[in-house]
C-alpha cells in the first residue's frame, strides 16, 4: 500500500494503462504542457509524448466526438473535460453518439472511450463550474457511470473504465483531488464496476452517499455513534451504472431505514431514483420513509456562506438520520 492523493491515484492509473496498452491515448484542454487544470495528467506528456497526450483546442463537443470516432476504429481514448459543466457542450456526442452507436448500428461498432470530468462545489467557482450532475449521465442507457470517492477507487475504477469496451462517464470531484488515501501498489489493482463499498457497518440505518457525500456521510455516522448511539451503515455505490443495488437492499433489510445523500439537485436526482428502487423492492422492510439529503435546488452561488449551505453538510445528514429513526 502506498498513500497518495486522489489526483495522484488517477495519474497512476493513466500512466499504468498507457504503459500497458499502446492504443490508450489522452485528449483534453491543457492536459499536456499545462499538466491539466487539476494536475491529474501531470508529467504524462513528458513521459508518453505528444502523439499520446494531446492538448486540444476548446471544443468540447468535437474532442469528445473525435474520441468516439477514434474508439470506433481502434483506439482507447481518454478525454478530459475541465468540469462537468463543460460536458454539457459535449452532451450531443456523449448521448446521441457514444451511448447510442453500439445499439443503433446493431452491435457492429463499439466505443471504448472514457470521458473524465470533475464536479462539485466548495471552491467558490460559481454557477457555471460547480455543479454535480451524475444524475444526467445516470439517465442514459449505453453509458457506464463511475463516481469514485477514495484514492484507491479512483485508481481502480479508472483502470477498469479504460479496459472496458463501453463508453464510460468518469466523474471525479474537485474537493477529492487533494484527499489522501491508501492505494494498492499492484499494477492490476482494478475495481470492478457494479460493486458497492460498505464504508462502515451498522445496524440502525443505511446511509448511501454518492461521490464526496460518502465521506460526509461517514463523518456523520461517527457523530451519530458518538452523540446519539446510532450505528449507521454507510454505503458508497462507487458506480451508478451498473448499480450494485443488492448491497444497498441487503443493508436496508438489515437496518430498515434508508437515507440517501447526494450533492446534486433534488428533482430527478440519483436519490430520487434510488429511493424509488428501494421502495419498489424493499417496501416491506422499511420502518420509516426514505430520507433524501441533496444539494439545494438552485444554481450554485459564488458567495462562500451561500455556497456552503447549497450542498449537504454533516449536520443535515445527522438530522435526516434522526428524523428517520424518529428522534426528531
Amino acid at each position: 500500500m502506498a498513500v497518495m492523493r486522489y489526483r495522484e491515484a488517477l495519474n497512476a492509473a493513466l500512466r499504468e494503462e498507457m504503459a500497458r496498452d499502446p492504443t490508450v491515448m489522452l485528449m483534453g484542454e491543457d492536459i499536456g504542457v499545462f499538466n491539466g487544470a487539476f494536475k491529474v495528467t501531470a508529467g504524462l506528456l513528458e513521459e508518453f509524448g505528444d502523439k499520446r497526450v494531446r492538448d486540444t483546442p476548446i471544443s468540447e463537443n468535437t474532442i469528445v466526438g473525435m474520441g468516439v470516432g477514434a474508439a470506433m476504429t481502434g483506439l482507447r481514448p481518454v478525454v478530459e473535460l475541465m468540469t462537468i459543466n463543460f460536458s454539457l457542450l459535449a452532451m450531443d456526442q456523449i448521448v446521441n453518439h457514444a451511448a447510442t452507436i453500439h445499439y443503433m448500428f446493431g452491435g457492429q461498432a463499439k466505443v471504448p472511450m472514457v470521458v473524465r470530468m470533475p464536479q462539485g462545489a466548495g471552491h467558490q467557482l460559481g454557477p457555471t463550474h460547480s455543479h454535480s450532475w451524475e444524475a444526467l449521465y445516470l439517465h442514459v442507457p449505453g453509458l457506464l457511470v463511475a463516481v469514485p470517492t477514495t484514492a484507491a477507487d479512483a485508481k481502480g475504477l479508472l483502470k477498469a473504465a479504460i479496459r472496458d469496451d463501453n463508453p464510460v462517464v468518469f466523474i471525479e470531484h474537485e474537493y477529492l483531488y487533494g484527499q489522501r488515501g491508501e492505494v494498492p501498489d499492484d499494477g492490476d489493482h482494478v475495481v470492478r464496476f457494479g460493486e458497492a463499498a460498505v464504508r462502515r457497518e451498522g445496524d440502525d440505518v443505511t446511509i448511501v452517499g454518492i461521490s464526496r457525500m460518502a465521506l460526509t456521510a461517514a463523518r456523520a455516522a461517527r457523530t451519530l455513534s458518538d452523540q446519539h448511539g446510532i450505528e449507521a451503515e454507510v454505503i458508497d455505490p462507487r458506480t451508478l451504472r451498473p448499480l450494485d443495488l443488492d448491497t444497498i437492499l441487503a443493508s436496508v433489510r438489515k437496518t430498515n431505514r434508508c437515507v440517501i445523500v447526494e450533492e446534486g439537485w433534488p428533482h430527478g436526482g440519483v436519490g430520487a431514483n434510488l429511493a424509488a428502487l428501494v421502495s419498489e423492492q424493499a417496501f416491506d422492510d422499511l420502518d420509516a420513509p426514505i430520507q433524501r439529503v441533496t444539494g439545494a435546488d438552485v444554481p450554485m452561488p459564488y458567495s462562500k456562506p451561500l455556497e456552503q449551505i447549497a450542498f449537504p453538510q454533516e449536520q443535515q445528514i445527522v438530522d435526516a438520520v434522526l428524523a428517520s429513526v424518529g428522534e426528531r
Partner: protein, 387 residues
C-alpha cells in the same frame, strides 16, 4: 470499331468501359432503390422519416468510387445511396428500412442510421453535423496507428452552420489528419435555401479560416466528382492535411417524404432535372459508344428487378422479436455481464425480457431477489403469453 470507341471515350475523359458501366449501374440502382423506398413508405412498409437522395447520385457514386476498400466513408441521415454505393447488399439496406432482423443494423437504426462495418461504411447519423467529429476521430486513429487509410466525410450544406463544422475543420487542420470533408450542397438545409441559411454561400471557402482549403466539383457530374474527390484524397494522403470539397448538386425530391416543397418552385426543380446525372452520364456513354440504348434499358430493367428482389427479401424478413429489445446496449464482458446489471428498476421482467434465457452462472447479482432470476420460468412465461 473498338479503337474508335476507346478514342471517343478517352476524348470525353471517360473511365474505361467496365468502370463507366459500373458507375452508371450504381447510380441507376440508387435511383430505383430510392423510388421504391418512397413507394414502400407510402404503403407504410417503412416508418419514421425517409430522406431520398434522388438527384444526388453522381455526388454519391463519384465520391465513393474515389475511395479504396480500406478507406472510411461516413454520411448523414440521407445515406441509403452511400450504403449501396459502398457495396452493401441492397436486400439488407431495404430490410433495415423495413425495420427487420436482416437489416444492416437489425432494424435498430432505420433509414437515418445505416452502417456496414465490413464495407467500412461508418454510418448514417441523424444529428446534423454530429458526424464531423467522428470522421476526424477515424482519421486520428488511422494516423495514430500508422495505417494507410483515408476518411471521406459527407454532410449537407445545412451542417456547415453547426459548431462542429468549425471545430472539426480547425482540429483536422491543426492535427494534419487524412480526411476529406465533402459538403453536399443540394441548395437547401431542409426547407431553408442556402442564401437564407449561410452568410457565405461559396461553401468551398467556408473552411479556409480554419486552415482547410476548398475545392469544388459539379455534383451532377459523376466524372467531375470522381476527379476532384480523388485529387482531394491524394492531398490528404500525401500532404497529411484535410480538404473541404463542395459538391454542387440538387435533390429532386423533397427533404423527406413529409415535405410539401413550398420553399421552391416547380420551374427550379425542372431546370435541375434537365441535368439529371443518370441521363447525362448515360448519354455520354452512348455518345462514346460504351453503352447503347438497348443496353441502357436492359441495365435499368435489371436494376428494377434487383430492387424488387430487395423488397421481397425485406418483406420476408421477420420483425425483431421482443427479446431483442435489450440486445447491444452494452458490449458484454467482465463488468457488464448482461442487460440486468445496468437496469435495476423492478423485480418483474421488463418488456421483452421474459423470453430471455440467461445463464445464471454469469449473473452478477444475487439470484433470488429480483430481476431476471425472479422472472417466471419458461413455463410460466408461456402461460402468461397464452393469457
Amino acid at each position: 470499331m473498338a479503337e474508335h470507341v476507346a478514342d471517343a471515350a478517352e476524348q470525353a475523359g471517360l473511365p474505361e468501359a467496365a468502370v463507366a458501366r459500373e458507375w452508371l449501374e450504381t447510380m441507376m440502382l440508387i435511383r430505383r432503390f430510392e423510388e421504391r423506398a418512397g413507394e414502400m413508405y407510402a404503403k407504410a412498409k417503412i416508418g419514421g422519416f425517409l430522406h431520398l437522395a434522388i438527384g444526388e447520385e453522381a455526388t454519391i457514386v463519384g465520391s465513393t468510387r474515389a475511395l479504396r476498400d480500406q478507406d472510411y466513408l461516413i454520411s448523414t441521415y440521407r445515406s441509403h445511396g452511400h450504403t449501396l454505393a459502398r457495396g452493401s447488399d441492397p436486400n439488407r439496406v431495404m430490410a433495415e428500412l423495413f425495420g427487420r432482423v436482416d437489416g444492416l443494423c437489425k432494424g435498430r437504426g432505420g433509414s437515418m442510421h445505416m452502417f456496414d462495418a465490413e464495407k467500412r461504411f461508418m454510418g448514417g447519423y441523424g444529428i446534423v453535423g454530429g458526424n464531423l467529429p467522428l470522421a476526424a476521430g477515424f482519421a486520428l486513429a488511422s494516423d495514430y496507428l500508422g495505417r494507410d487509410e483515408l476518411t471521406l466525410c459527407q454532410f449537407g450544406d445545412g451542417a456547415s452552420n453547426q459548431g462542429t463544422f468549425g471545430e472539426t475543420m480547425n482540429l483536422a487542420a491543426l492535427w494534419r489528419l487524412p480526411v476529406v470533408f465533402m459538403v453536399t450542397n443540394n441548395q437547401f438545409g431542409m426547407g431553408t435555401s442556402l442564401e437564407r441559411h449561410s452568410a457565405v454561400t461559396d461553401l468551398m471557402r467556408k473552411g479556409e479560416g480554419f486552415g482547410v482549403p476548398g475545392m469544388r466539383c459539379d455534383g451532377m457530374d459523376v466524372m467531375d466528382t470522381y476527379r476532384v474527390t480523388s485529387e482531394a484524397l491524394a492531398i490528404a494522403r500525401e500532404e497529411r492535411r484535410p480538404i473541404l470539397v463542395e459538391a454542387v448538386t440538387y435533390r429532386f425530391r423533397g427533404h423527406s417524404m413529409a415535405d410539401p416543397e413550398e420553399y421552391r418552385t416547380k420551374e427550379q426543380v425542372d431546370e435541375w432535372r434537365k441535368r439529371d446525372p443518370i441521363v447525362v452520364f448515360g448519354d455520354q456513354l452512348a455518345a462514346a459508344g460504351i453503352v447503347d440504348e438497348s443496353e441502357r434499358v436492359q441495365m435499368d430493367v435489371a436494376t428494377i428487378e434487383r430492387v424488387d428482389a430487395a423488397v421481397a427479401f425485406a418483406d420476408a424478413s421477420p420483425h425483431p422479436g421482443p427479446n431483442a429489445l435489450y440486445d447491444d446496449i452494452y458490449v458484454l464482458g467482465d463488468q457488464v455481464r448482461g442487460w440486468y446489471s445496468v437496469d435495476e428498476r423492478t423485480p418483474t421482467p421488463h418488456r421483452g425480457e421474459d423470453e430471455r434465457a440467461m445463464d445464471s452462472a454469469v449473473l452478477p447479482h444475487s439470484e433470488h431477489e429480483h430481476g431476471v432470476a425472479a422472472a417466471p420460468k419458461p413455463a410460466d412465461a408461456a402461460q402468461r403469453d397464452a393469457d
